[in-house]
């Protein structure tokens, strides 16, 4: 896209790591080709003069949409646990050990 980062190549492996997707080498190769085509097409946005143009994040211009600080009913724990793939006695949802530093705040 003219100046700026190299957009001719997408590092699918890095991106798939960010997105937590396990991909085979074949998939990585295929996605790199297919998305390379897409990105090549997308590069034509570089032709557009966007100087002084504000970005649009929302289709409609609303502001200050807020609610009152009032309680509303939640859902039953049975519903929470019946959808969870694994849970523990006492009502916690079970996951493999969270290792410090794996990622997170």
């Amino acid at each position: 896209m003219g100046k700026g980062p190299d957009t001719s190549h997408i590092d699918v492996r890095y991106v798939a790591d960010l997105a937590r997707l396990e991909l085979s080498d074949d998939e990585i190769k295929r996605y790199e080709e297919q998305l390379g085509d897409v990105l090549h097409y997308v590069d034509q946005l570089g032709e557009v003069d966007v100087s002084g143009v504000d970005p649009t994040a929302h289709a409609m211009p609303l502001t200050n949409v807020m609610r009152d600080d009032r309680e509303s009913p939640g859902i039953q724990r049975d519903d929470v646990l019946s959808n969870a793939p694994a849970s523990l006695e006492g009502g916690l949802i079970r996951v493999p050990a969270v290792i410090d530093g794996e990622e997170g705040a």
Partner: protein
């Protein structure tokens, strides 16, 4: 297409009111039709017969004792499998949500429920609404009712096919880049994408939050207007829903006329490479018919059209990459359970790799990439700015015309497997995508067919919040068009 045509929504309301039919009768005929044709069409992912019949019996009892919930009480409706109905599966046609049962109702469902609508079942779609053909469903294939070798369009392909195939009186779909209008066009039904914010998105599983909008798929324009009157309006659970009063869409149709209405034909839309001659012919013919009825046909310009697809695929995939991050096998949905996922990281990676289909993975990767460090400004921010320019294009065009006429798709329903590369598939959305980027309203109304009988849709667009004008134009056209 079979012996037992269903009534339209409008006809069903009258028949129920006059006692000419019952909810049970309506539901049984729909279920019977599903039995007969759905093995060929594949519109439904889930139908709960017993529940439907029990609901119908309850509606009939209410009508008998005068406590009916309203004119629609007891009418069955099909729902795209990305809107939450309490107690029903909510899969988005994805393996990752194969066993998920929704514990809550979407706002649209709540509104329809309070009117007495009966939720027939879940219709097939492209997985997470990502696609234009229904070929990306992770669960099942759907065929075009007019030609089984062809796609029904997507992503609301199941809903369009159900209405077209006589398997539903009305259906709900969702439209992120054309997902209501395109299958409506391919299947020969009416499909409306309302103004962004008109219909609550609460309970619609998000694909691209700033583009998604729920709308009806129906046999007639009037039926769509009736549906919009029920489902539109501000919802305190959706911060993006608009405060402007909704309703009055159906009642405004009685005075519908196009006399003096300026219909814009965007020059660029008819210069698109690959525009099928029969599609062009049908759309131009529709314009001539409107002109004969008193409309003024004007040429307008939407020069940003050529950039719409690029901007769309950046914005939509970026939003989707975050929206779909919650499917990780922790709180619900598919979790890798074959013992390999010793670590949390492996569980995430395997659950998502197995749960998501090819196109969904592709879009998550693209969306993650355009947001990633160093690329944000070049892709995402630039696309948002182009989005502003697209919006302005429409604002300018609508100073010169009242509605815009265009094709819905460059070609009619194509053969399954025909659009082999992702890029080719994305390019087929050229006419519909910019409407979502601009947030305006639009619809597809059948305007003819190819020689081999494949339906062709006319796209009509109106400025934001001008659904009434849009529907009046469409209803007038529908009337002068006559039966197809």
């Amino acid at each position: 297409m079979g012996a037992l045509p269903l009534p339209t929504l409008d006809q069903a309301v009258s028949a129920l009111r006059d006692g000419a039919t019952s909810s049970r009768e309506l539901c049984e005929s729909v279920l019977g039709r599903i039995d007969t044709v759905d093995s060929r069409i594949g519109a439904y992912l889930y139908v709960d017969r017993e529940e439907v019949l029990a609901d119908a019996a309850a509606a009939d009892r209410r009508r008998a004792d005068g406590s009916q919930l309203g004119p629609f009480d007891g009418i069955p409706i099909a729902v795209k499998d990305n809107m939450a109905v309490r107690g029903q599966p909510l899969t988005c046609a994805s393996r990752i949500l194969k066993d998920f049962v929704s514990p809550y109702d979407a706002t649209v469902i709540e509104r329809l429920r309070s009117q007495g609508f009966i939720f027939l079942g879940r219709t097939n779609m492209d997985e997470f609404a990502m696609g234009s053909s229904n070929e990306n469903s992770g669960l099942q294939a759907t065929s075009n009712p007019h030609d089984s070798s062809r796609v029904p369009g997507g992503s609301s392909g199941g809903s369009a096919a159900a209405v077209a195939g006589g398997e539903a009186i009305v259906a709900l779909g969702s439209d992120t880049g054309g997902s209501i209008r395109l299958p409506a066009s391919f299947c020969g039904v009416v499909g409306v994408k309302p103004t962004y914010g008109r219909v609550s998105r609460y309970g619609l599983v998000a694909f691209a939050s700033s583009l998604d909008q729920i709308g009806p798929l129906t046999r007639t324009v009037r039926d769509s207007a009736l549906m919009l009157d029920i489902i539109s309006g501000r919802d305190p659970r959706d911060s993006t829903s608009l405060p402007e009063p909704a309703g009055g869409c159906a009642s405004c149709l009685s005075a519908a006329s196009v006399n003096g209405m300026r219909c814009g034909m965007p020059r660029e839309y008819f210069e698109v490479e690959g525009l099928d001659p029969s599609v062009r012919e049908c759309v131009e013919n529709a314009a001539r018919q409107l002109e004969a009825e008193g409309a003024e046909i004007v040429e307008v310009s939407l020069p940003m059209l050529k950039y719409a697809i690029a901007a769309y695929y950046i914005i939509a995939t970026a939003e989707a990459s975050a929206n779909l991050a919650r499917f990780d096998g922790v709180r619900y949905g598919l979790r890798d359970s074959e013992g390999e996922a010793e670590s949390l990281l492996a569980q995430y990676r395997l659950s998502r790799a197995r749960g998501f289909g090819d196109e969904v993975k592709r879009r998550i990767i693209l969306g993650t990439y355009v947001l990633s460090s160093g690329y944000y400004d070049a892709y995402y921010l630039r696309a948002q700015k182009v989005r502003t320019l697209i919006r302005k294009d429409f604002e300018h065009a609508f100073t010169e015309c009242d509605v815009i006429l265009s094709p819905v798709s460059p070609e009619p329903a194509y053969k399954k497997g025909e659009l082999a590369t992702p890029l080719r598939m994305y390019l087929a959305d050229i006419y519909t995508i910019s409407v979502n980027l601009a947030g305006i309203c639009g619809l597809s109304v059948p305007c003819g067919a190819t020689e081999s009988g494949l339906p062709i849709g006319l796209q009509m667009l109106a400025p934001a919040l001008h659904e009434k004008r849009l529907l009046q134009a469409a209803a007038t056209y529908e009337a002068i068009r006559g039966d197809l």
